[in-house]
């Protein structure tokens, strides 16, 4: 079980686990937990790296050993742990898990009820499955020539089984059809409801008159097939949606507030008033828009503005909610409540953008809009025709019902969800989560791709440049100093040189806004801004934009950092261009940085210094030109644009507002997820069209027989099953070759969250 050497499994999608210091996490756990019995609370933690039985044991035993924990239970499928605990403070769950080697985050949905809809669908499906198999047994004996007496008994038994099933399993369609009719339009469920009700009534009437044909088997089988489609559709949507919800959260739930009497309390962010004094430790996010009262630090605003370099701040500076405090503790005065903060403004912009976007109607809905009236007209016409021709109402109704049953959109109901489930699975193996099937359909239509820069085309974190040309002794010193700081440049130094010799520095101190200082014997070492670390002014200018290591004010080494491109970024963009898509970059970063990057990846259309509203405006303009745009972005500032685009995609480490707005989320680091998702979307769009063509061909062949009155219950059952099987088999073709072509696919996933989208429960 080598997969359980937990330390190697901390994947790229995990947020730096020490983003939040201990006390705040405890308070946050308390806010997220729910009470299950007096004094007992339940927390759910999302632990993306749980893999195997070893992990289950390690985690459960480790957590149960923590004082206050009553019980811990791992759910391997959902990658979650439920922990029951007692006491007035949450036990150190996250820290314990971290010590065991697992990054964990509080799971937002603690207290969320079970998926009631799924349970109802599954029960209805089970009942319909039971009924259809039993009625089919009876029907087969009727078809193989049971005598009249036995046939009547079998028909009666079938009717007795079918009636409760029609009420229990059929109500899902009745309710949906009714709510559509009440609002004055029609959907696929209307012909289904009418078809099964009419067929049942007619069969009942025939049974009473001991007629030779009854459609009970057809009715129940139809319900069964349609429920399979319905369940698959639901499972796919819910599973992936909850997986996205469960990824690491970035917005803080609460903050440490200093009251007037000097006491401090951890309050939910909603309770922070304008004028409240808020204390934000290094590593925490700024909860609301605020002004700095005391302290100085560096702020990482990459998610908020798209700017890649950290900004130094001091007393008086205005801060936006959502930025990350990197180096020093800050005392803030809130200048807005959370409802009026930057983050909420983004949400409002997003809602406005979403409302402005023309509502996309899913293919299945569009087809059924044409389909339902056609079927009804045909059925009614055949009734009229036979009435006129024979004057026998019973015969005419029988044929009309046969037309309804044979055209009932069994294969249609299965064809779209089946393809989408297979496509979602396919994308999932490549580390791409699909939030709903509509997103996949829209993805296939795009002609333009718009990228954000920081965090999307680039990784959004700096790495050390030309690592090999550097003096390794100096790098040892620098990395040892950097280990004391959270500044992204320090992190990059540590990452670049993980094997640093431990150095016995004393009096290590971080000077927010400047760097880290420490003593070694008599010498003072500084790592940080040249203007602070170096004594010589000429030298300061020489290395102005670099981070320097100095000894007693003399330069030892200068380091420069770049925000590297995501792996495969250039190749992915070339791939997209080759597929005939137009590319564009919209960034909040400054001109020079955007231009350099655009040139590097070969994109000629780019705009810098874009505010969130500018990005949305640009997307609206593109939409007005009739372009279908895929937006790929990660930041808070991209969230409105993600919502405004025709379809959108975000990396897993994006701000959660953006991630929730996106239709697809990719978990790996590589940008090749974008062309991959596009390719899968294209292929599934083709398969959906093929499936529609197959269903229509089937209808076109079967319909004349039905109208001419040749359709017996046997014929209907066989035709219905065949068309459904053909459609399902065709959808499976999407999977063909997937495993062989991407042997590394499971490797990309092993580092990230795995949910199980397997439709079969």
């Amino acid at each position: 079980m080598s997969c359980c050497s937990a330390s190697v499994m901390v994947g790229p999608t995990d947020p730096p686990a020490d983003d939040q210091p201990g006390a705040a996490v405890q308070d946050e756990l308390w806010l997220e937990s729910r009470e299950i019995a007096p004094g007992q609370r339940l927390s759910e933690l999302s632990v993306p790296t749980i893999h195997c039985v070893g992990c289950i044991r390690t985690i459960e035993e480790g957590l149960k050993a923590v004082p206050g924990v009553l019980d811990a239970r791992v759910n391997l499928t959902a990658k979650r742990v439920s922990v029951q605990w007692e006491g007035s403070r949450a036990p150190a769950l996250i820290e314990t898990l971290k010590d065991l080697g697992y990054a964990a985050h509080p799971w937002q949905a603690a207290g969320e009820k079970k998926d009631e809809v799924l349970a109802r669908l599954l029960r209805a499906l089970a009942v319909a499955g039971f009924a259809s198999s039993n009625i089919m047994l009876l029907s087969v004996s009727v078809w193989s020539g049971a005598d009249a007496q036995a046939r009547d008994i079998f028909h009666w038994i079938s009717a007795l089984i079918a009636l409760p099933v029609l009420i229990y399993s059929g109500r899902i369609f009745y309710l949906s059809a009714w709510s559509a009719l009440r609002r004055g339009h029609t959907n696929m469920d209307v012909p289904i409801s009418i078809g099964i009700s009419l067929a049942f009534c007619l069969s009942l009437y025939d049974t009473m008159r001991s007629g030779p044909h009854a459609y009970f088997d057809g009715v129940v089988m139809l319900l069964f097939f349609l429920l399979i489609g319905r369940t698959l559709d639901h499972v796919m949507r819910e599973r992936t949606r909850s997986a996205v919800k469960g990824l690491a959260r970035l917005a803080s739930k609460g903050a440490l507030v200093e009251k007037e009497d000097g006491t401090r309390a951890y309050l939910p962010v909603e309770e922070i008033q304008v004028g409240s004094r808020v204390i934000v430790a290094a590593g925490e996010r700024i909860p609301v828009d605020a002004r700095v009262l005391a302290g100085s630090s560096d702020l990482d605003a990459a998610l908020v503005t798209g700017e890649s370099d950290p900004q130094p701040v001091g007393p008086g500076a205005q801060l936006q909610a959502g930025t990350l405090n990197l180096t020093g503790p800050l005392t803030l005065e809130a200048t807005a409540t959370v409802q009026n903060s930057f983050l909420s403004e983004m949400v409002r912009l997003m809602e406005a953008a979403e409302a402005g976007r023309s509502t996309y109607r899913r293919i299945a809905d569009r087809v059924s809009r044409l389909f339902a009236p056609t079927v009804h007209t045909l059925s009614f016409l055949s009734f009229l025709g036979w009435m006129v021709a024979t004057g026998d109402p019973h015969r005419a109704i029988t044929i009309a019902v046969a037309v309804l049953i044979i055209t009932c959109p069994c294969a249609l109901g299965l064809s779209v969800p089946m393809v989408q489930v297979v496509a979602a699975r396919r994308l999932f193996d490549r580390g791409i989560l699909l939030k709903d099937g509509g997103g996949l359909e829209r993805m296939a239509e795009i002609d333009t791709v718009v990228f954000d820069k920081t965090g999307t085309l680039t990784l959004g974190r700096p790495v050390l440049q030309n690592r090999n040309g550097l003096d390794s002794d100096h790098l040892d010193l620098a990395a040892a100093l950097a280990a004391h700081s959270r500044h992204p440049h320090s992190r990059a130094l540590v990452d670049a040189h993980p094997t640093a010799r431990p150095t016995a520095f004393i009096e290590v101190a971080e000077r927010p806004g400047f760097g880290v200082e420490a003593r070694l014997g008599e010498d003072v070492y500084r790592l940080g801004l040249p203007a602070w670390a170096l004594a010589d002014q000429a030298q300061q200018r020489e290395v102005a934009n670099k981070t320097v290591l100095s000894k007693n004010g003399k330069l030892l080494a200068a380091y420069s950092f770049i925000d590297p491109l995501r792996p495969e970024a250039a190749a992915a963009l070339r791939d997209l261009q080759r597929k005939g898509l137009k590319l564009e970059i919209l960034s909040g970063d400054h001109q020079a940085a955007v231009e350099a990057l655009a040139r590097k990846v070969g994109v000629s259309a780019w705009q810098a210094r874009m505010r969130p509203a500018d990005k949305t405006a640009r997307l609206t303009a593109l939409a007005e030109q009739g372009r279908k745009v895929l937006m790929v972005g990660d930041g808070l500032n991209d969230a409105p644009a993600l919502a405004a685009a025709h379809v959108s995609m975000a990396p897993a480490n994006a701000a959660d507002v953006g991630r929730n707005a996106a239709d697809l989320v990719f978990l790996g680091e590589g940008l090749d997820a974008v062309p991959e998702a596009f390719a899968v979307a294209k292929r599934s769009a083709r398969l959906v069209r093929q499936n529609f063509a197959l269903s229509f061909t089937y209808n076109a062949i079967a319909l004349p027989f039905a109208i001419l009155g040749f359709v017996t219950p046997l014929f209907a059952s066989v035709a219905m099953s065949c068309s459904s099987i053909v459609v399902v088999a065709n959808a499976m073709r999407l999977n063909r070759g997937a495993r062989r072509r991407n042997p590394e696919a499971s490797g990309t996933m092993s580092n990230s969250i795995r949910v199980n989208p397997e439709p079969v429960r």
Binding site: D71, L76, T77, Q84, V127, F130, L137, I153, I161
Partner: protein
Amino acid sequence: MSVLIYLIPASLGLGLLGLATFLWSLKAGQYEDMDGTAARILLDEEDVPASAKSDGASLR
């Protein structure tokens, strides 16, 4: 013919039994963690489904 009087109720009864068992297992949470259940047979400790342990509502 008369044999059908036993056989049909018997077959329906067995079918219903299967249906009831499935609905029970669904309700008992046996499909909550399919991967975990497969893995847990390798653990030595006593193990019961989540909902049977404690009061059902607590852990799932």
